[in-house]
Amino acid sequence: MNSIHHHLARALALVALVAAGSIACLGALPAPACAMETVRCTGRPNAEDDKSAIQGATESRITLETSLDAGEGVEQLTLHIPEGTSFSTDDLAVTMLTGDDLMTREEVSYTETVDGQDLVLDFDKPLNDAGHLSVMVYGVYFPQAGGDIQVAASYVANGAEHTLENIPTIPVVGISGTEALSQWLEQQPWVQSWNENRFLRLFFDPTIMVTSFPVVLNGFFMSIAVVALAFPLGIPVALLLAFMRMSKFVLWRGIATTYVNIVRGTPLFLQIYIAFFGLPLAGINVPNFPLGVIVMMLNSGAYMCEIFRAGILAVSKGQTEAARSLGMSGAQAMFYVVLPQMFRMVIPNLTNEFITLYKDTSLLAAVGVMELVMYARTIVASTGSITPYIVAAVFYLVITLPLSKITRHLEERALGHRTRRRTPAAASAAPTSKEA
């Protein structure tokens, strides 16, 4: 950085010299040996929803890496950046990578001049080492509409000018609607004064809110997908466990009790770690998403087992006895009489379990599942604002608030249902106790 400022100062003094040098080079004949080759030409990804996408009208960086042979004597390099793409010379980084593994970095001293869309680098000493020359141009804004950006380059070596061949184009995607909205918002005076307040900027920055919304939405679908599969799949697991726990056979009881106690007695976070990093070591390879679903299913199965068991035990024993006396078998009594009543009773508890499970999908962020929190995290990391977490919170509440309301409604209805059956004395007492 310091050296750049230093050179900026020197640039003015050297402008005349540089101009003269360029004219001299144009007139010279091409030298026979010229082997500067393109290694790569890339743009730095800058999109929030796709980590490897480069989008227009958003700050990026162009990296041009070329290979040089020993004794090539490169004196000047000109980068032509196409019309419509703006760039800045602040933070410009020019480095020679040398050594067998190209791991030795040498700062190159140079003077830069900008002529329209041309960025001209005049090297203080001709580059004669074999290695790679890396030029990083910061503050690049590609055209808003996107497209394939072709950077052109030419260089002067030993007094002769050559064109650098085979520079790949940089694929730039058009700016998304929300990104455009965000940039428009950024210009608005009310947004600017809003963001001047640090608290509001950190937690409720409107520009970040609009850009993070579609990104976090991807995570929302992922979280919903996990819970929408894991929860229904957990129900048969839970029923099976519940029957095992109430079985007459010690072995079944023992297995189910041990399982439920272990799963309920250890943090879900730990179970996720064990499943994601432990199972593959044991030779069991399951892709991320199904594995996430399975872990959540097995975990919620243990919790729902207890809900079901309590529910079954709560169904009056008289119900089973009545069913048996009608000639039903034990299994029939269970499936046609006890279970339907049990399900109605445990619906509020199941809804609560669903809410818990939905919130717990956030723990999968730690193992690389791209769910709600993980998407929000990536934007927090790149923007330094907490706003994406607030957006994520909204996505949780969208599901959990209506569900809690439904649960409350169901609970109240269950309560009302019972009061109707009570004796007049008990019924009259009920409203007062409810109000307390």
Binding site: S52, R377, T378
Partner: protein
């Protein structure tokens, strides 16, 4: 009963409102509590707790920061303690996931500075101020030894395939590097860098991309069945991140780093930690 509820609700609302206003009010200016002055008298700086400097760190990055038996060890950790000593302060480490450190420094309140192998990048410079760099590092990619598809000879192309999954630490320069140079590959982000290696072991990812010193350390210490197939001299400079609202602390830290550099302590710490 009802009345009590109402009063409680009202008081909660008042509290919440007051908290919001309070936060908003102190948002504009740097915190004024807890001040400590340097011995050299280079201007007063403030820390969150008087007499203590709190560094935010993500201890999953040996040989820079790591937890061994509950102790913070590594180059950064030694450097932090040396700086604290120079400043005449107690040194304290706050464990924050890497991608949360810069946001935490911007937000303030959790730590005075970020010290966690943080490379200076223009993006981060927009959010925080950086001290004088104390270490320069490059990028590396490692794969399993038995991976025959990705070798040292073809790594640049072989890694840039749609079927390749590269494990990276969320918010790291390794993540940016992989996204730029291997845009076709699928990136799998993990909050902890150590988990990236475990993911490669577990087959959740094919390769891991990150800073070379750490990759080499991890391979040497724990994962000898992985090897480096690709390196790139990115020359990233590690520095300490300080809030833009606290230039006095930045100046004091810079002064301390300068002293440690001049008296050879920095070189000693580097050679002691880089095996």
């Amino acid at each position: 009963m009802k009345n009590w509820k109402m009063t409680k609700l009202a008081s909660i609302a008042t509290l919440a409102l007051a908290a919001t206003l309070g936060l908003a009010a102190c948002g504009g200016a740097p915190a004024t509590e807890g001040s400590a002055s340097t011995d050299e008298g280079s201007g007063e700086f403030t820390t969150l707790t008087e007499g203590t400097i709190a560094f935010a760190t993500s201890p999953d990055y040996p040989p820079f920061e790591n937890l061994v038996d509950g102790e913070y060890v590594g180059l950064d950790m030694d450097l932090g303690r040396a700086i604290a000593e120079e400043l005449g302060l107690e040194c304290e480490y706050v464990n924050i996931d890497f991608d949360g450190i810069v946001p935490a420094i911007v937000a303030g309140g959790q730590a005075d500075a970020g010290l966690s192998g943080i490379s200076i990048t223009p993006d981060r410079e927009d959010q925080v101020d950086f001290s004088t760099p104390y270490y320069v590092d490059n990028q590396a990619v490692a794969v399993m030894n038995d991976n025959t598809a990705i070798t040292e000879d073809n790594a640049t192309e072989a890694l840039n395939q749609e079927t390749v999954r590269i494990a990276v630490q969320s918010g790291s320069t390794g993540e940016e590097h992989a996204a730029e140079y291997f845009p076709n590959a699928e990136l799998v982000s993990f909050p902890n860098f150590t988990d990236c290696f475990a993911a490669v072991q577990a087959g959740q990812a094919d390769a891991v991309c990150g800073n070379i010193a750490v990759v080499e350390q991890m391979l040497a210490e724990a994962y000898d069945n992985e090897h480096v197939v690709y390196t790139s001299a990115t020359g990233e400079e590690y520095a300490i991140a300080v809030s833009k609202d606290n230039p006095e602390l930045l100046a004091a830290i810079n002064e301390a780093i300068e002293t440690l550099d001049e008296n050879g302590t920095l070189d000693e710490l580097i050679s002691a930690n880089m095996g």
